[in-house]
């Protein structure tokens, strides 16, 4: 790989760090684990994205944001998003930084591993004394929970494995 291509590829990854889910703007698509691969060929860049949920209405907006952001990189002539289901997005693709950012935003991250129990701790006070009020929430990926310690309702990302 020549240095020019490497430089563009690095710039693309950096740019993708600024692209967020419109419904969870605290975390980038990279931290969310949605970027599978970046391929640079000349000035053409293809970004392979693995969606969290198949019917997530945010994916079209994310696609547009990615194309806009990557197209603005010097040396990039054409940016294209390809949605892939292989690899399948799973909860363990969220990075540690991503998990922390979700918590700060008020969303409890999912378990790290498929075999882990789904313990929902409050993102505000850290209490484990919570109830799952609705397995389904305002978006496909989230559930609604309630903290009995600090009396706050909050959301939790559904485990997907």
């Amino acid at each position: 790989m020549n240095t020019h291509v490497e430089a563009i590829e690095q710039a693309v990854w950096n740019g993708l760090q600024e692209v967020t889910d419109p419904e969870i703007p605290c975390i980038s698509v990279v931290e969310m684990g949605m970027i599978h691969r970046v391929e640079v060929e000349g000035g053409d860049v293809q970004i392979e994205v693995t969606p969290t949920f198949i019917g997530c209405p945010a994916v079209k907006i994310i696609e547009r944001s990615i194309v806009e952001r990557v197209s603005a990189i010097p040396g990039v002539k054409r940016a294209q998003v390809k949605f892939v289901f292989e690899p399948t997005w799973t909860s363990d693709r969220i990075s540690e930084t991503g998990r922390e950012k979700l918590r700060q935003f008020g969303i409890t991250p999912p378990p790290r591993r498929p075999q882990d129990d789904w313990e929902i701790t409050c993102p505000f006070c850290g209490s484990a004394d919570t109830t799952l009020d609705n397995l389904f929430g305002p978006a496909a990926c989230r559930s609604i929970a309630y903290c009995r310690t600090c009396k706050n309702p909050f959301e939790a990302l559904k485990p997907i494995f």
């Binding site: 198949i54 019917g55 892939v84 289901f85 399948t88 609705n134 397995l135 929430g137 496909a140």
Partner: protein, 277 residues
């Protein structure tokens, strides 16, 4: 289905006309089931028993619509036309969904005097989700690689749907006498429409022959084993092996209820295909 060579993408499928013809037929059936039942689910918005259920049910309907879109997109990639057109501009007789998913939720419409039947809805979504699980498990080994990947992606989402409807089944079954009575009546109603759910339509032989999915007898048998076990656990009656249907949706035979559904869901698109919100 082992031993058959994997078809990796639309281009490769299109190079083999017999394979493509079978694949397309299967995809319509898969797309239409989720599309029409997802639509029936969306008609409940604002009418569900309580607000939390409105949230859950809408989320499930949205997932199902998303699954339908993914199948329609696959058809588009195979040269069948625009996904939106496939969903909204086909005549009802071109639909391949099962009769069970097209039935109205009850009398009235969501706008006028909706006397929708919650027990029937719970039963119908539960029985369908149970079958969808059986079907996806088979599709996860399909000879068409994009379908294999999509099925695997759908399975964890479906798990939440199935869980939701199981909870309702159990709650209604262990609730008051009236709830139970209504649930049993709903089971009988749904049962009379089960005949074509497992069917793979006029091209069944080709679909199975090309390793796209396993045969309908096998799928039906697996569904029956699971349905029987869970209904027993809810202490609900087993109504026997589903009988062959009077109408076969997989062959394009449908009720007036589907005609109405298609007319309603495509109304805006027919008026203005570029309409957006």
């Amino acid at each position: 289905m082992t031993g058959l060579q994997k078809v990796v993408d639309a281009g490769q499928a299109m190079a083999n006309p017999a394979y493509k013809a079978a694949l397309v037929e299967l995809l319509y059936l898969l797309a239409d089931d989720d599309f029409i039942l997802g639509y029936r689910g969306s008609e409940w918005l604002g009418l569900a028993p309580h607000i939390e259920e409105d949230v859950s049910f809408s989320s499930i309907s949205q997932d199902m619509m998303g699954h339908a879109v993914a199948f329609f997109d696959m058809l588009e990639a195979l040269g069948e036309g625009k996904a939106d057109d496939l969903a909204q501009l086909r005549q009802p007789e071109a639909f391949r969904n099962a009769i069970l998913v097209e039935r109205a939720n009850g009398s009235g419409t969501y706008l006028e005097n909706p006397q929708f039947d919650w027990a029937y809805t719970v039963v119908r979504f539960y029985l369908y989700s149970l079958f969808k699980q059986v079907r996806l498990e088979s599709l996860a080994n399909s000879s068409y690689l994009p379908l294999t990947q999509l099925a695997r992606k759908m399975m964890p989402e479906l798990k939440y749907h199935l869980h939701h409807w199981s909870v309702w089944m159990k709650q209604l079954a262990t609730s008051t006498e009236e709830a139970r009575k209504r649930l049993v009546a709903a089971l009988q109603q749904a049962w009379s429409d089960l005949g074509d759910l497992f069917d793979l339509g006029p091209k069944a032989e080709e679909i199975v022959g090309h390793g796209l999915i396993e045969g309908s007898e096998l799928l039906a048998q697996r569904w029956q084993e699971r349905a029987k076990k869970s209904l027993e656990a809810y202490r609900l009656p087993w109504l026997g092996k589903p009988q062959p249907p009077e109408l076969n949706g997989r062959a394009g035979q449908h009720t007036e209820e589907l005609q109405q559904a298609v007319a309603t869901l495509s109304e805006v698109y027919r008026l203005d295909p570029a309409a957006n919100w």
